[in-house]
């Protein structure tokens, strides 16, 4: 057990935890983030729809409404500050039935109250002119220009790198085991290998936030709500250019068509209460394609190249749970289901301000080190690639054919912290294309083993107990002989 000390400890390195880490890294503070997975964003963040929402769903008097609106604006700054990519699609919320028109008006009002600009109710003709692929039975739609799409895991990685570059320490595969309280205040955070003395702890543990709060003696119920997403191949990439939303239901924004920042089309998510399973299902797939097929008849499941399930952390009363608790120094950033991704940077600023009010002594740094995003083959100009290759021939070795990812990018991803196949995937897009890593997977195994100087058998998909090919024939033949 190693003893550490930190001004602040953040539990969870998802979008919220990493946004908090980045915000705190602007101050002269020691900050430690502990994360149970092997990399950032591997809870709900990576399985998220990747939408920077227009604030139309929640009133500004709620955390959801307020922070969605602020967060949306903050991401425009963060785009250049952190080098993240946003696809500024805008949103079309489409009404199919007469009864929905009143709801659409109400939603527009909510948006206006949150400060959304340029909201418009479009007629059927205007809708179809904007998106000819829409089914002709649509009646009207709300257009919200501020909505955008992004790769949610890339956001978490950007916040992580920005924070790390500016002094925040991250410890992976370190689940929190105990929270020690002294005089009704937080005193220590105990993980598998560390005992961290601290006075300020933020619980950003996503679906596990309830369990973590329980460790501090603060009861909190976070309900899981599973959602399946289906990624279609790039031939669907131009089917729509806006986010297409149906009218929302009680517990969900509905099944959407999401033109991704990488020019795929993603459809989903479903919303199954109380389900914490990460498996995709036949029923889920049917529901997604039946639902989105009503709005966009050209979509069918044949184009599916990937599917996954995310589990949202749903708060007990419907709004985010942000703020202090009865335990001194123990803060919550919990229940951050949709629009959690959008709200994250705004929540981070709010909480840090709250902590300062409560006594966190923090001087703002005069200068920050800029997070430089990694170079990608796709973003290079003509002359740039030739130059890079002449300096470093691994820029000329394409490993992932489908997404055109070079060995240089893989090596850089490892340098920036990837130790697993999924870590490479989320940083470089390797394996996200049509063959889903069938060709490049075995080759990346070798590259990881070489760069990390470990045996090939140790290389894992996503951390402990997920080694890709952990056995040898010598082992198995011995085992069989022993029987």
């Amino acid at each position: 057990m190693k003893e550490l000390q930190s001004d602040v400890v953040i539990i969870g390195a998802g979008i919220v935890g990493t946004a908090l880490a980045y915000e705190l890294s602007h101050y002269e503070l020691s900050v430690i983030v502990v994360e149970k997975e092997a990399d950032v964003g591997w809870g709900a963040t990576k399985a998220n729809s990747g939408i920077i929402h227009a604030a139309v769903h929640d009133l500004p008097s709620t955390f959801k409404g307020k922070f969605c609106s602020e967060g949306n604006k903050l991401y425009r700054q963060l785009e250049s500050e952190l080098g993240i990519k946003l696809r500024k699609t805008g949103m079309l919320m489409v009404a199919e039935k007469e009864e929905q028109l009143g709801q659409l008006e109400k939603i527009k009002k909510t948006g206006l109250a949150c400060g959304e600009k340029d909201l418009e109710i479009l007629t059927k003709e205007e809708l179809l002119a904007k998106e000819p692929a829409l089914s002709p039975h649509v009646l009207a739609g709300l257009y919200a220009p501020s909505a955008a799409t992004t790769a949610p895991y890339q956001l978490a990685i950007a916040f992580f790198e920005g924070a790390q570059t500016n002094g925040v320490k991250f410890y992976f595969e370190e689940p929190v085991r105990k929270l020690k309280i002294k005089n009704k205040s937080i005193d220590q955070v105990e993980t598998t290998n560390f005992n961290i003395s601290t006075k300020f702890v933020i619980n950003a543990a996503g679906v596990k936030a309830g369990e973590i709060a329980g460790l501090a003696g603060c009861p909190l119920t976070i309900k899981p709500r599973a959602g399946e997403e289906y990624l279609l191949d790039k031939s669907y990439g131009d089917l729509v250019s806006h986010l297409i939303f149906p009218l929302p239901t009680l517990n969900s924004k509905g099944i959407l068509a999401i033109p991704t920042v990488d020019h795929n089309l993603m459809v989903g998510p479903t919303a199954v209460e109380g389900l914490g399973s990460h498996a995709t299902t036949d029923e889920g797939r049917e529901e997604v394609f039946r639902s989105i097929g009503k709005l966009l008849p050209q979509i069918n499941s044949q184009g599916t190249i990937a599917s996954f399930t995310g589990v949202r952390p749903a708060p007990p009363e419907g709004d985010f749970i942000i703020g202090s608790t009865d335990v001194g120094g123990f803060y919550l950033a919990a229940g951050m289901e949709s629009p959690g991704l959008t709200a994250a940077p705004a929540v981070a600023k709010y909480l840090v301000a709250k902590m300062q009010e409560d006594g966190l002594s923090a001087t703002r740094k005069k200068e920050m080190k800029k997070r430089i995003p990694p170079l990608r083959l796709h973003d290079l100009g003509e002359g740039e690639l030739a130059e890079l290759i002449s300096e470093n021939p691994s820029w000329g070795k394409i490993v992932c054919r489908c997404e055109e990812v070079t060995e240089a990018e893989i090596i850089e991803a490892i340098r920036r912290g990837a130790t697993t196949l999924d870590g490479i995937k989320f940083r470089t897009r390797l394996g996200m294309g049509r063959c889903q890593g069938g060709f490049c997977g075995p080759r990346v195994l070798s590259i990881l083993a070489r760069e990390l100087a470990v045996d090939k058998r140790a290389i894992s998909k996503k951390g402990q107990d997920t080694q890709i090919a952990p056995l040898t024939r010598e082992q198995l033949l011995e085992e069989v002989e022993g029987q």
């Binding site: 090939k456 024939r473 010598e474 033949l477």
Partner: protein, 119 residues
Amino acid sequence: MTEKIICTICPIGCELTWQREDGELSISGNKCPRGEKYGLAELTNPTRTLTTSVRVKGGLHALVPVRSTKPIPKEKLMHAVRELAKITLKAPVATGSVVLKDWQGADFITTRKMPKAGA
């Protein structure tokens, strides 16, 4: 006593039936004489060509593929596999080099050359 075997000599895949009468084995169901031969061999002494790989140090790949030069008895396949698992070659390795000599009537040879890594 009858049992069915599928002949694999040609794509037709005749279903062969065998019978033992007065100590004599006979095959039926074959549409050509090769099938009879195949059926008898399968019953009395089934053999298979073994293809597998042996480890190699310092080569372009971690393994070099090998094959038996002749079919070996089917029931000895895993024994051969165990013997070959004990062998580690050193790159460079030429194609057709013998890695295990005279094992159950066959040699085991490499089926490709394996240059040194980075060659």
